[in-house]
Symmetry: C2
Subunit: 246 residues, 2 copies
């Protein structure tokens, strides 16, 4: 809707979101909401101005007020331990929701940082709570999103605990590929929005190891890699089953 764009231009800070017209809505809210309910939800969501690469959406330690949906671009979430060690806890693509780690303690336990120019929708949590109590399918949807995050983290835990460097990198590529596909984009060819050192940090490896594994996959012809541009030639070779017979 052109109105949406116009609003964004005029208002230099935040604009009301128009979820009914957002092509990500099917992903961030794939629920059978009545059009009426979608509009109620949209009315509490605010679309922020586009953020540049490396800007913070929220910082660890800040009071928790909202959760956020990635509208376009990409984001990493980072946890910092008391000793100052940084751990990337997730990479987030359009249609994905972030910030739910702050609900428990009312303080964000992670920081969220854009990996590229991104546009982010803000959802004030107390209003989401109120609305959830009134719209059962929204409450359920939100429980589901949190549960999904738990399940995804468990997958990462298993990977860190049991898999080799090559398996971890293969799994990350597959995950990104799958999420692209889900959004109707190419599963075989895309840009990696994150740096090698982000990948290493996320997967519990060093940059050198990440670089060497990419080089090996490239030499084997499983992928074609040119800096951040990746093309997967043999998607099956990246699947877990491929590692059983090697």
């Amino acid at each position: 809707m052109s109105v949406e764009h116009a609003t964004e231009q005029r208002c230099d800070n935040i604009a009301p979101a128009n979820c009914a017209d957002c092509r990500m809505a099917a992903i961030c809210l794939p629920i059978s909401l009545e059009i009426d309910d979608i509009n109620k939800l949209a009315s509490i969501i605010r679309r922020g101005r586009p953020l540049q690469r490396k800007e913070h959406i929220y910082r660890a330690g800040e009071p928790f007020k909202s959760v956020y949906a990635v509208h376009s671009g990409s984001v990493k979430t980072v946890k910092v331990t008391e000793e100052g060690i940084e751990q990337i806890t997730g990479f987030h693509l359009p249609g994905e929701l972030i910030g739910m780690d702050g609900i428990a303690s009312n303080v964000h336990s992670n920081s969220a940082i854009t990996l590229e120019t991104s546009s982010i929708c803000e959802i004030p949590f107390h209003r989401l709570e109120e609305l959830s109590a009134k719209i059962p399918s929204l409450q359920r949807r939100f429980f589901q999103l949190m549960s999904k995050e738990i399940a995804e983290e468990q997958t990462l835990i298993t990977m860190l605990s049991k898999n080799s460097a090559e398996e971890r990198i293969a799994a990350l590529l597959l995950s990104i590929s799958l999420r692209h596909q889900y959004r109707g984009l190419s599963a075989r060819e895309f840009l990696l929005p994150m740096s090698r050192s982000d990948i290493a940090n996320y997967l519990g490896l060093t940059i050198e190891t990440v670089s060497r594994v990419f080089a090996r996959l490239n030499k084997n012809g499983i992928i074609d890699l040119d800096k951040k541009h990746i093309k997967i030639n043999n998607i099956d070779a990246l699947k877990p089953a491929a590692f059983c017979r090697s």
Copy 2:
């Protein structure tokens, strides 16, 4: 309350829980619920018969119907990958809630298995949802519990990704110690309900490494260990800070 015991005796399968009198309630539901609301919640909770060691509470793949609170004893949750690799995703002590990973897909993604004789309360999820929509503080509490689980898993992720074998084991001991203390039990002396191989699996190590690290901590006098019985002599030596200067 003796009535509660009487009920348990009579009914060989399940008995209604009496949350108002349960000494775990302060932990599993530390919310400012009206006594009235507590009773509404209690009315949907069922206390199962005591389970023996190694019994399943639910199995991965089963339809998701309920979440469960550990009333007494202890439980491990285990995720099995498609390739059949098992990863323990958590150890759960009295007052802790399990099974929330199943909400997203309506199927349990983990199995839950008792580590010792345990008594477990079952909370049918659809009734919890209904009640949450009516009692705002309950809805919030449940969001918080899920968020807490996310934050805890992120801690495990960081540990698996960044810490040495010794640091991981120290962190596990500290975590158990803290949870004992929270329940008013000794922070310095307790029984480890899980086997060495469970610990190894959870922390992404081998049993041999776990055994060696325990032996080293024992020799250093940091802990006294006799099979599963552990006594922490120098709790500070287990804290992350202790590893900065070593």
